[in-house]
């Protein structure tokens, strides 16, 4: 294990005394002084307890030999989270910030190991909200088996950001046997997804008061690394794999079709979609193919492995509604076509503009 190999000689060197007594965050909490120290000690270090973070150097130090034992390539990714509202059914900005970055690593075939956590807080945010967000990050990190090893805190004036923005960068290692790329789809391959599409987008719509549409849909926000590890174990030659976040599955399928120079044909009747989400889309005129997801991965596999991959996905707690949704053809290249429930066909293009702003 990586943890045990890190030198612990510095652990506990600092006396941890900071306690945050304020009820709301103000500018002094980002000033670099005592108040900021109290915030970091009490809120962040308390939650993300680990050796790397505890030593409070300006950087996390990772033992290289441990990394190289896991694979031959380092995977590095970063993502910023600005979702509005910060709390929604099935998650919050903290859970999103961990799961999103973990998934970005995992879909490349990497084992996610370490995350960073940078927060930009608008003055006036309640400390209890901040604690709730950080606690979600902790829980999500534990589930995903990653450590948050370094971070940064800034506080800005009211109006300079909206409540809280979080950036997480992630580091993982890709095993030498894995080679996943958006350019790998080949005619004859089948396309799979691990469950209902559009739940995250629908949950955000439900949480936005200005839309006056209430629903009981939970965001699908979840770490997918276990599911992906299992899929790679039954089918190491996965051709394409990407998580479908902003822009929905339509965007991911287009990325595959363009990079792989193929036609991807999907069947509307095969795509898992909750009735509640479909109903909401009917009312608001949204297309579920473009709705955001935060726990969905689209996988393109050689046809002969499709059944095994499907069974494996269904076995995971985040894949029970998995389905084969389409097929790869040679021509016309760089195109995604939907066979509609009505029997017709139409092109599914990339999303133009924004279906909903600040979705993640």
């Amino acid at each position: 294990m990586i943890q045990s190999s890190v030198s612990q000689s510095n652990a506990g060197m600092r006396k941890r005394s900071g306690i945050l007594r304020a009820e709301t965050i103000n500018m002094s909490h980002g000033s670099g002084g005592k108040a900021m120290r109290d915030l970091i000690d009490d809120v962040f270090l308390g939650a993300f307890e680990n050796v790397e973070l505890d030593v409070l150097e300006d950087q996390a130090r990772i033992d290289l030999s441990q990394l190289t034992s896991l694979g031959n390539r380092l995977a590095l990714t970063t993502d910023s989270y600005v979702v509005d509202p910060i709390f929604f059914r099935g998650g919050d900005i903290g859970k999103l910030a961990v799961c999103g970055t973990v998934n970005d690593l995992a879909v490349g075939g990497a084992k996610p190991l370490y995350l960073t956590c940078s927060v930009i807080i608008e003055e006036g945010l309640s400390v209890s909200d901040l604690r709730r967000i950080v606690e979600s990050m902790r829980v999500a990190a534990v589930e995903a088996g990653v450590q948050i090893v370094t971070g940064d805190t800034k506080v800005v004036e009211r109006g300079a950001c909206d409540k809280i923005f979080i950036n997480t960068a992630g580091v993982g290692v890709i095993s030498s046997s894995v080679n996943v790329s958006a350019a790998g789809a080949k005619p004859g391959d089948l396309v799979l997804i691990n469950g209902f599409i559009g739940d995250h987008g629908a949950a955000i719509v439900g949480a936005r008061k200005d839309l006056a549409i209430e629903n009981e849909i939970d965001s699908d926000c979840a770490p997918l690394n276990d599911l992906i590890v299992a899929v790679l174990a039954v089918c190491p030659e996965i051709h394409c794999m990407r998580d479908a976040t902003r822009g929905g599955i339509a965007s991911v399928l287009n990325e595959f079709a363009i990079s792989s120079k193929v036609l991807i044909k999907i069947k509307e009747t095969a795509i898992p979609l909750r009735d509640e989400v479909r109903g909401m889309c009917e009312i608001l005129g949204l297309d579920p193919l473009y709705l955001a997801n935060e726990g969905k991965v689209v996988v393109v596999v050689p046809r002969e492995h499709a059944d095994a991959v499907l069974a494996t996905m269904k076995n995971d707690k985040y894949g029970q509604e998995s389905a084969i949704i389409g097929e790869v053809f040679a021509e016309p290249e760089e195109t995604v076509i939907l066979q509609t429930v009505f029997g017709g066909e139409r092109i599914v293009d990339m999303l133009v503009g924004d279906q909903l702003p600040r979705i993640c």
Partner: protein, 388 residues
Amino acid sequence: MKYVDEFRDPVLAKKLVDEINKLVKEIDFAKQRPIQLMEFCGGHTHTIFRYGIEQLLPKSIELVHGPGCPVCVLPMGRVDDCVSLAERPEVIFATFGDAMRVPGSKKSLLQAKADGADVRMVYSPLDALELARKPENKEREVIFFALGFETTMPSTALTVLQAEEEGIENFSLFCNHITTAPTIKAILDSPSMQLDGFVAPGHVSMVVGEQPFHFIAEQYKKPIVITGFEPLDILQSIWLLIKQIAEKRSVVENQYARVVSSQGNLPGMEAMTKVFELREFFELRGLGSIDNSGVRITNDYARFDAERKFPVPNIKVADPKQCQCGDVLKGVIKPWQCQVFGTSCTPETPMGALMVSSEGACAAYYNFGNLPEMMSLKNIKEKEEAML
């Protein structure tokens, strides 16, 4: 899903298509030229593309996608007026989301927002009124960008009546509502027109009833069917139209009777007549100036009229010369036959009216595609590029 899936049944669709195929054989002129049917409403255009209805029809039927997308037919000069109003420091400019990307001669509302104008996206005129009620906006003026055909007029009118009742003074409309029947008349009067029938807008008819469409059947002898928005609704209406053509009849039929009553929505029309009156003429992008095609706010409600409260530039701006939106709207050419389609004019950088909103004919072609035509277009363009 109940009340939805019943209207998307592929088995019933197949039966209708078979019937349409039989009937088409009885129409003599269809051997010389295609039967052209116009769906006026952008909502219908959207359904047609979304479900791939055109590919189910025989080659001898051509669907012409009409001007019934209010965002598309908004003239550039009016967008400039919006931007000028939105850029006033005291103004909160409230608009439907799909109007934000419409290009003006200098910028869109989206760009104006990025440049500092207070532009807010709303989902109904009541949301805009709610903005005006908020204590923190007391010193601000909330202008609602009212647009749409008769479908959206009652909700705008009722919002004005509500504002009056509550004595709200910091609320007004920039009125760009347009009327359906005069626009159809202008299309019928155009010399290059050869339409054979109309799929009439269901939502508009829900408000105005059947009466405004009688002249189409009686004076112009064109069949017209008021139609719902599900794919089977549209197929059934096409069947009804083809049947009328085959039987050489022209009447107004109501396929959408589950929603549309023959006299329309009387309380809605009462509110509309109180608040709005016909303009002598109004410009529709791609079609030019049309008599009685728009409404303005009546004198009684002048204090809710942003055009009377504030100066607006009101400068007419011509569309780029290469745009052939007018010809597409009238069915003279198909979207992909326009010289700028898919090259200088795309949904990301729309030049012409019809590329602007997802309900516009060109954007619908571009996004959802009519496969064989799009593919042959792609080949032609690639060949042209290769020759260069």
